[in-house]
Symmetry: D2
């Protein structure tokens, strides 16, 4: 869709922007599914923090993907601060899921979070 935007996108790095949108969407999906998979494990009490962090990360990744998908009336402060919040949520969730990598859903979710964190930080750097 990025290529169909009718106005000028400005001097943004399109590749990093597009990569970051994709990572946010994939990470939100992984976190929603991981929260649910954790819930269905027999011992959700130990996974309470993991489930909560998954939910926060999904909400913030979804909001970030939406903000990054808009180019009209760009506001650098909104973009920067939501990217920072997203990187921070992804880091926390990758750390938390990273403690339970014996569960395949947590292992995959940690990977997705780490990858999204990197994409957010890359885009932040490219924005200057």
């Amino acid at each position: 869709m990025l290529a169909t935007y009718p106005a000028d996108l400005g001097r943004v790095d399109r590749e990093k922007l597009s990569k970051c949108i994709e990572e946010c969407i994939a990470c939100a999906q992984a976190c929603t599914a991981c929260a649910d998979a954790c819930l269905s494990e027999g011992m959700p009490a130990e996974l309470a923090k993991c489930i909560r962090t998954n939910m926060d990360c999904a909400d913030i990744c979804n909001a970030t993907a939406s903000v990054l998908s808009r180019h009209t009336g760009y506001d650098a402060n909104i973009t920067r601060t939501i990217l920072q919040a997203c990187a921070s949520a992804c880091k926390a969730c990758a750390d938390e899921c990273g403690r339970h990598t014996h569960m395949e859903h947590c292992r995959l979710c940690a990977e997705s979070c780490r990858s999204c964190e990197t994409a957010c930080n890359d885009l932040l750097q490219a924005l200057g």
Copy 2:
């Protein structure tokens, strides 16, 4: 992520479920981007209905993707009615964007909505 779910998924058609989640996520993204692209066209007054339908469709597709990504404590009534709402929003948005296919963002968004509508209806039928 679907393959990592630790409990029984029940007799759901995994392929149709997985396809429908993917379509909802792709459609939400297309609608969010199309609403923004419409906004940046010089004549958003004519596109007001299109923008609005895009926003509804994005919100409903996102909610549907989240509901479908959860398998714990499955409730058939919630799944069925949100799939019907999603099919209905996708149909409305495909029809509306379908009137402006000379704009590439609307053409692609209409395709994505039509494809998501089909996936919702296929899953509804498979659920019986």
Copy 3:
């Protein structure tokens, strides 16, 4: 905000519309908080279905509140089907939380869901 809408709202029952938006917002908030409170109880395994239904209900109520807050380019099919999905999610969540009314968060959440279900059905009837 409803009173500030600059165009014609059509023949919608403003009181029922406004009531329904408020109920959806309050219910989404109650469900998000109840899911988290359930998570912090010592026995989330028994509350897994409750937590999941809370999350679905919160997502669907939020989407419904957004759709109902838009009046431009109104589409009756989208409004009707998302209201049906919302009533269905609220009913399921009220039933589920209604089994754990010894926990104050579930008791309040069940009330909020029941109240939102009624508001959705009232608005559906008023829409004809």
Copy 4:
């Protein structure tokens, strides 16, 4: 709902937390309605930036309200960065709507955004 949380809330200022959740929810609702009202004005081209900022602010306020409504497995970094993103989006939206206060929806939305920005900054300060 805050009062029904079964575990320890920690040393958070409950009044400021509760105020901030309420402001985020009210601001998200005001922004969604203002975006739609702007769309229905006869000259949405001039309001394109306002509509876009409204949508960003609504998405970020909703995510922030959800994060703040969860207390289990609290992560200070997530809370702080999403509050900063929310304050930043509210400021941008208050500034933008503040240019169109002759339209009642923008005047009310600007007030709501300013009030939410203050609540986010107050809570940030209380968190230390």
